[in-house]
C-alpha cells in the first residue's frame, strides 16, 4: 500500500485516496467547436506512460482535496506532489513526464 503525501494532511495510506487519472487535461474551452475526433480525445484518450506520470488524486477519506502528483508507474514511487493550480515541480532528467 502506497503512502501518499497529501499536500494538506501529510502522508496517509493509499486507501484514503481516490485516483483521478491523468492530470492537466483541461475541459475544452468550447466543446461545440471541436470535431468528433477532438472531443473523443478529451473524453476517452489519456496518456498511459511506463514511467513518470502526472496524475490526479483526491484525499477522499481525509480533507477531500484534489491534488496532483508525479508518480513513476513502473515503481509506483511518488516523485512529486503539488496542489491544484500549482505548476508541476521541476524534476530530474530521468523523471521527465512523457506527454
Amino acid at each position: 500500500m502506497q503512502l501518499i503525501p497529501c499536500p494538506w494532511c501529510g502522508p496517509r495510506e493509499e486507501a484514503e485516496f481516490h485516483y483521478g487519472g491523468q492530470a492537466h487535461v483541461a475541459y475544452p474551452e468550447d466543446p461545440s467547436a471541436l470535431t468528433d475526433e477532438e472531443w473523443a480525445q478529451y473524453v476517452f484518450f489519456r496518456e498511459n506512460p511506463s514511467g513518470p506520470f502526472a496524475e490526479r488524486w483526491s484525499h477522499s477519506a481525509g480533507c477531500r482535496r484534489w491534488f496532483n502528483a508525479v508518480r513513476d508507474t513502473r515503481t509506483h514511487d511518488l516523485l512529486a506532489v503539488y496542489r491544484v493550480g500549482e505548476p508541476m515541480p521541476e524534476l530530474g532528467e530521468k523523471d521527465q513526464v512523457a506527454s
Partner: protein
C-alpha cells in the same frame, strides 16, 4: 484392489520433451508479432495454420507467456452481455473446445462451469438480462436460484443472513478453466513447428514507418524489417503505439491474483462475484486460485497494493467460510490494459500494416484462441474478421461503444 492410494498429483500430464528452439532473429519477416503472450502466440499460430503465413517472428521482451498469460486466473467463459462481445467470446469458447486436439498438447481444459453470483435485486435483473441475451445468441446460460447455486457448488454460503446474501447466479456449464502455461506452450510449440520464430529477450524499442506504412521494428536485438506488425502487448500497448504517435484510450492497471496450497477437492466449479470482487476456482492440483479487484491507479510495476488482497479475502470468506484456514501461498500481479467501455480494441490502425489487439482488461485469457484466430484473419486480409469488426478504435469517436461494465452499479 482399487488404487485409493494414488498420489493426488500423479494424474497431471507432463510437458513434451521438446517445445521450441531459440533462434537468432532474421533481418526480415512478413509479419512481426510484438508480444509473446497468449495472444501473440495464438496469432502467430493461426497466421501459419489458417493463412499459411509462416515467415513470422514473435518478439517477446522477457520470456514467452511471462506476462498476463502467466498471471491470470484462467477462467474461460463466453456469457457476455452484448452481441458483439458474446460473438467473439463464444467463437473463442468453441475453439477452446477443440484446442487440445488442435494443438496436440494437454491444455487441461476443464468445462466445470462458471457461476456469476448476484447479490442485489439489480444484480438479479442484470443477470437475468444477460442469461436471456446469451440464450438468444446461442450461448448456454441459466439463471439459478440460491438452492441451485448450492447444488452446483455446495461450499458457497447461500445463507440469507450474511451481509450481501446470494440471491442467485448465472451459470454457464460450458465455461471452465485451463492451464495457462500449457496453453501458451501448446501454441508456441505448434507455431514453432510450422516455422514461426519465437524470439525471447527481444524488446521492441522503436518502429519505422515510411509513407504511412510500417516497415520495421527496432529491438534490443537489432532492427527487424517487417511487412506487417501486429501488437499483442496487453499492458504495454500504449507504450508501443506511442512509438508511431498513436494514442490509445487505455489505462494500464495492476491486477492481482493469488494461490493457496494444494487442498483436497472442495470446489467443483468456478465462482465469480463482481459485486464483491472475488473469483475463485480450484485448479488441477488442488490449489485455490483467486483474483482480486483491479488496483485503481496506473501501474506497470506488476505489483498491487496489499489491502486489495485483504478486502478480497474478507469477501471470499463471506462466500466460502470453509476457506478460513486455507493459506495464501503466493500473490502476484499482472498489468491489464483497460479501455473505457471494458471491451477490447482489435483491428487496423491509421498506420498501414500495423494492427492492434489490446484493451482486453481482465478478459484476455479466455479470448486467446478466438482473438488469435480473428486477429490473424485481420492481419492476413488487412480487414477485420466479422467478430472483431465492432471493436475498432474509431468507436470512441463515433460513440458506438460496447459497454461491458455491466449495468452501472448505481441504485435508486
Amino acid at each position: 484392489m482399487t488404487s485409493s492410494v494414488q498420489p493426488p498429483g500423479a494424474h497431471l500430464p507432463e510437458h513434451p520433451d521438446f517445445l521450441w528452439e531459440n533462434p537468432e532473429p532474421k533481418a526480415s519477416y512478413d509479419v512481426v508479432v510484438v508480444g509473446g503472450g497468449g495472444h501473440g502466440l495464438a496469432t502467430a499460430y493461426y497466421l501459419a495454420k489458417v493463412h499459411g503465413i509462416t515467415n513470422v517472428a514473435v518478439l517477446e521482451k522477457g520470456w514467452l507467456a511471462g506476462g498476463n498469460m502467466a498471471r491470470n486466473t484462467t477462467i474461460i467463459r463466453s456469457n457476455y452481455l452484448w452481441d458483439e462481445s458474446s460473438g467473439i467470446y463464444e467463437h473463442s469458447l468453441k475453439l477452446w473446445e477443440g484446442l487440445e486436439e488442435d494443438l496436440g498438447y494437454p491444455i487441461l481444459f476443464d468445462q466445470r462451469g462458471v457461476l456469476n453470483l448476484a447479490h442485489s435485486l439489480q444484480d438479479v435483473r442484470d443477470s437475468v438480462r444477460r442469461v436471456n441475451a446469451n440464450r438468444l445468441n446461442g450461448i448456454d446460460a441459466e439463471w439459478v436460484d440460491p438452492a441451485g447455486v448450492k447444488e452446483i457448488c455446495p461450499i458457497v454460503n447461500v445463507s440469507q443472513d450474511v451481509r450481501y446474501p446470494v440471491l442467485g447466479a448465472t451459470y454457464q456449464p460450458r465455461a471452465g478453466i485451463a492451464k495457462h502455461d500449457y496453453v501458451a506452450w501448446g501454441y508456441a510449440r505448434a507455431a514453432h513447428a510450422m516455422g514461426v520464430d519465437l524470439i525471447q529477450n527481444c524488446e521492441v524499442t522503436g518502429m519505422e514507418t515510411s509513407g504511412g506504412r510500417i516497415t520495421a521494428v527496432e529491438t534490443s536485438r537489432g532492427r527487424i524489417a517487417a511487412g506487417k506488425v501486429a501488437l499483442c502487448a496487453a499492458g504495454h500497448s500504449s507504450v508501443l503505439a506511442k512509438m508511431v504517435g498513436l494514442r490509445l484510450p487505455l489505462a494500464s492497471h495492476p491486477l492481482q491474483a493469488l494461490v493457496s496450497e494444494l487442498l483436497e477437492p472442495v470446489h467443483p466449479t468456478v465462482v465469480m462475484s463482481n459485486a464483491v470482487h472475488v473469483y475463485v476456482s480450484q485448479a488441477h492440483k488442488g490449489e485455490l486460485v483467486m483474483g482480486a479487484g483491479i488496483d485503481s491507479y496506473n501501474g506497470y510495476g506488476q505489483r498491487g497494493s496489499f489491502h486489495i488482497i485483504e478486502q478480497q479475502m474478507s469477501a471470499a470468506l463471506e462466500l466460502f467460510p470453509i476457506f478460513a484456514r486455507a493459506h495464501l501461498l503466493r500473490t502476484w500481479a499482472g498489468i491489464v490494459d483497460v479501455s473505457p467501455d471494458a471491451s477490447p480494441i482489435v483491428g487496423l490502425t491509421p498506420v498501414g500494416g500495423l494492427y492492434l489487439n489490446c484493451g482486453w482488461g481482465t478478459g484476455g485469457f479466455k479470448a486467446t484462441p478466438g482473438v488469435g484466430d480473428c486477429f490473424a484473419h485481420t492481419i492476413a486480409h488487412d480487414k477485420p474478421h466479422a467478430f472483431n469488426e465492432p471493436f475498432t478504435l474509431e468507436r470512441f469517436t463515433t460513440g458506438a461503444l460496447v459497454d461491458e461494465h455491466g449495468a452501472a452499479a448505481v441504485a435508486h
